[in-house]
Symmetry: C2
Subunit: 211 residues, 2 copies
Amino acid sequence: MFSLMCSLAAMPRFRWPAASSCSTSSSRSPRFQSAASASGRPGGSSAVTAVKTAHPDKIVFADMKTMDAGELEADIAFTAGADLVSVLGSADDSTIAGAVKAAKAHNKGIVVDLIGFEDKVGRANKARALGAKFVEMHAGLDEQAKPGYNLDVLLSAGEKARVPFSVAGGVNLSTIEAVQRSGADVAVVGGSIYSADDPAVAAKELKAAIV
Amino acid sequence: MFSLMCSLAAMPRFRWPAASSCSTSSSRSPRFQSAASASGRPGGSSAVTAVKTAHPDKIVFADMKTMDAGELEADIAFTAGADLVSVLGSADDSTIAGAVKAAKAHNKGIVVDLIGFEDKVGRANKARALGAKFVEMHAGLDEQAKPGYNLDVLLSAGEKARVPFSVAGGVNLSTIEAVQRSGADVAVVGGSIYSADDPAVAAKELKAAIV
């Protein structure tokens, strides 16, 4: 099943009305996900707990982007209430393995974020072999801002890798159909929702575009 | 000048007595640095402000390990009071360049952390070309835990790169002489101080070992 994840990670500041519109307009899609960043934003793991407490029926993704101490960091986020925790693909294999160990202990999942990683297909397969639930074909905001950036590179990598994957890197109303067609399991939407004049309307429109 | 930086980044929880012993036992070395992690720990940027306010004479290093939105994230940390901010070496060049842009606006510096990066020598030179103040030859806790790990790999990379560098990856009383001899500008010490029975004594002993 293809689902939509609203990312709060890139938000300059948490705007709770937007967060709320992400997670409460999900009546038609039980896997419509709410994402909380546990790193680099005020609140840390307590933000994860707050989101999970407010929306216990939603899958909460703590986008830790862990680079070291995989087991320790993932355990903190799972204990706080996260269902999914991310580790960077550029982290050492042992860091991914450690995070997977924590995920198994909590009966939860690890997402390996391939931002900045050149050989996304190879790393995606390695991440799955290490026990990741899925990988994220991800181009950062800085990469998206470069001339000639095209989301298709991510979709193509996902198709080639043949592992469960999400796509993050400029998903919007005009690209979400191609994302779904690529075989992605999750479309991660940030700016298209939180920068919209009406985030709730934007989220609903994106959901409606999923077939 | 060779200096010592006490890292709070890897601490499971901030232990302020240890932090305090890092920064107040610095009478003999004006550049004895205090490090604060602004990511993944409760407090976020307010932790940076708290450390800088308590110790305005110290160089505060916000170990953000930024992977995207380099200018935005570095600006947040510099505005909070950081003197140095780290960006991951595995981040896109444009992310490092963006963080350097923020550093220049604040008249501060960017450190490029080479954790997880295989070609540390090549990346170190690229980071300097992009405007980083120095690079960190860094092996994470997970990498250090692997059989056969040896700090010498980092020292050798630093010697070869011929750019200003710090070393992080198991610096302790028995290795700090070799770190200094390698030409490193900064020795980053975590566990050897915060896991010591008496962190203040451990910090003093490390400082005394610097010639």
